[in-house]
Amino acid sequence: MVPKVQVVSMASRKAAKRQPLISFKGIFVLFLLAAAALGVYCVHLDKIVRSQFEGKRFALPARVYARPLEIFPGKTLTLAELRRELDLLGFAKVAQVRGPGEYVSTPVYVVFQSRPFEFWDGPQASQRVRVSFRGDQVEDVREETSGQPLDLFRLEPISIGGIYTNNNEDRQLVRYNQVPRHFIDALIAIEDKRFYHHNGIDPKALLRAAVSTATGRGVQGGSTITQQLVKNFFLTPERTLKRKANEMLMAILLELHYDKNDILETYLNEVYFGQDGTRGIHGVGLASQFYFGRSVEQLKPHHSALLVAMLKGPTYYNPRRNPERALERRNLVLAETGTQGYLTPKEFEAAIAQPLDVTSSASAGMSNYPAFLDLVFRQLRRDYQEEDLRSEGLRIFSTLDPLVQQTAEKTLADQLTQLEKGYKLAEGWLDGAVVVSVPQTGEVLSVIGSRRSGFEGFNRALDARRPIGSLFKPAIFLTALEQPELYTLTTLLDDSPLQYQERGMNEMWEPRNYDKQFHGQVPLWQALAQSYNVSSARLGLELGIKPVLNTAQRLGVEEQLKPYAATFLGSAELPPIQVAQMYQTIAAGGFRVPLRAIREVLTMEGRPLKRYAIDVQQVASTQSVHLLTRAMQLAVEEGTAKSMKATLPESLHIAGKTGTTDGLRDSWFAGFSGDYVAVVWVGNDKNEPTGLTGATGALPIWSKIMAQLHPKPVPQIEPPGVTYLATHRDMGARVRGSCAEAVELPFMQGSEPELEVSCGGSYTTTSKAKKWWQRILR
């Protein structure tokens, strides 16, 4: 019999043989191709991972500091102000000073221990200092342990913010070894138990998360710290499977390149802890400051636990908004941390007994000064590339005085509300801007761009171009006073009706005074003090538009002003900062000192990069500016600014100028004391009328701010070549004898009025014959 097996043909046998070949080889080839594709893809991902990681690591925004508070015996500073500064610095108020960053306060003295700080001119070690006060002055400063008196002590400056990265993220970079062990322990315990053991992904955690999600027990994260860090590399928060897969691959790649502590460090500087207005709080350094007013090294276990607790949902667990929730989760974190063996029972008991211990947002240590930082940024951009500012970690020492800034912010906001109530304006109708600087050095102490000062937005101080009205007048009057052979403070000006045909204009220009009156012959000083439009305009026309514009330019107005008569009465539109520059030059006696917001720049490591030195240029004679200043002081003594006397004592000899524009749309006041120059603008953003004049709107705000700054009087130095004479207030002549009509005025040598009158105003015999013909010719 033939075996059945022989029926199997060669073809089918071959076919049978081929099938296994296709399956193994084919799958093997497919597998190779897939692996190759994955490999290429991994190389691509690797590139992304590396550049992102290094980008995150080294994208350090420039850090800006306020001016350091200098303390010395005799300085005008109250105990409350020193405490405010220490609070802003994040110093902890304690019962006994034991280490840096702590202070003790009694009603008459403060003892604090400074933190070590790297200034531009060198490092300063930590010191324990006692400052005693008497009234509003520092009485004594001494080293606490030795009792050694100190002539001068410089406190570290407050960090006021950074030049943020493009997505408005701020950083206070910490190094791995700066972060307390208990923070890292809590973080590992809650977020990634096996962080030190896995290679980027944790399969156990993933599995647990998958099971929990699948069984409906809630969505649990299974992401490692590495994965969470990688998540930050992507700008869009997709939650697809594809994205998840990418993240896992990238996490593995990251761990291949970088060691655990580097990854942890970057994570610590990236992780999100909530919002502060438009500013995102990223990183444990910033979070420590923001929530506890402490540097990261000063955190205690209960602080660490709270921060770690917030990671799950910084808004949901916000300790200021939802304190019970936050406390509950914090305690949960502490319990878990203890269970995993990172805390001893004693440590656990101590920590869980603590309250939340967050600072109130008012003393959050890092207030937002966006308007001032804006100025810093603009000034820096002249010298540095924007890229460097956002990534080199530069340390910028600015001129901001936080005490002045806070005072001005609060006063502006309060007063605008009051004005709205008093003048029956809608809430929010008004807004304002303030600039405060130091006359002699040009250092800008405060910039306020809006009544809601903590928020970024339109910076009116730098960018709101509004007609300056009568604030322009000093430019006219200075031009005149620089020609003493023609004009003195007593020169009679004509305030009778004026009509002027501007070339190219159809209508006649007919300026009017604010009081709708004409005042006849008025002495020059009165025309300025009372801000008479008509006589000022006539004076301007006499002098010529070009010389007057030249004076404005010398004073520091950078804007190109239109060469029309209307400019005399302030049709020129300038932002408050340029007005401040103009009045700065007057306050500095004719020496233009460019306003600056920066003192020094250091590299991240503390190496000095650039110092912005004081720079002066004499642009007007001391004598002519002295005369102008006197007239501006008279504006306060008896002119349009006389209501200031209700708030500030006459002994300060404040000099200033009110400014009001057509239809009462802009209310200005610009002026100075011996140690401050300030400009205030009030108006409506849509240019609607406010019903306020310079005297009723900006002036009270200006005075109230100034009253809180302990201002010094304007020094009464008579420059060489200037003599003071008693003159008759209305007659433009000397006056014999003391009387109510007498006003002491300065004159440049050779320009003193020769005419003399009695108090009653009648000419005395000595002068009658001589100069009658001069009187007629005027």
Binding site: E70, F72, P73, G74, K75, W120, D121, Q124, Q127, L150, D151, L152, F153, R154, V438, P439, Q440, T441, E443, G589, G590, F591, E600, P608, R611, A613, I614, D615, V616, Q617, Q618, T622, G674, D675, P715, I717, E718, P719
Partner: protein, 133 residues
């Protein structure tokens, strides 16, 4: 603030050098001008305020050592305390001349003059200095 060391140094310098002042670099070959710049002020002449005195001494030490940047920074710190102190402005002017910025020196000297008021002693020195620029 380590004020002791500069003070001791200054005291020693003061004892050994009398009225000598730093004159690194020359900005005029006229011996008269060197005389003007040879005038050194004691810290107590410059100010009654001990903080300003300390900063002035620090500045002078830096200047003697040729570190003009630090010297300027110290004088500017003094000016933040006493912005109208003509001696500090004058010293800034002299520093500027020392490192060759004569325009700046002239302007700073003018500022010093505007603040010196009736102090004829100081006014005289500033004028001599300006003449020598």
């Amino acid at each position: 603030m380590k004020v002791i060391q500069p003070l001791i140094l200054c005291a020693l310098l003061g004892m050994t050098s009398g009225c000598a002042s730093y004159t690194p670099g020359t900005f005029g070959s006229d011996s008269d001008t060197n005389e003007a710049s040879d005038v050194g002020y004691s810290a107590s002449q410059v100010s009654d305020n001990s903080a300003v005195q300390t900063l002035y001494d620090q500045a002078m030490n830096y200047a003697y050592a040729g570190d003009y940047d630090q010297a300027e920074a110290a004088l500017e710190r003094g000016l933040r305390i006493e912005p109208n102190n003509a001696y500090l402005w004058f010293e800034l002017a002299r520093l500027s001349a020392s490192y060759g910025n004569l325009n700046k020196a002239r302007e700073l000297a003018s500022r010093a003059q505007s603040l010196a008021g009736g102090d004829r002693y100081l006014q005289g020195h500033i004028q001599k200095f300006v003449n020598g620029l």
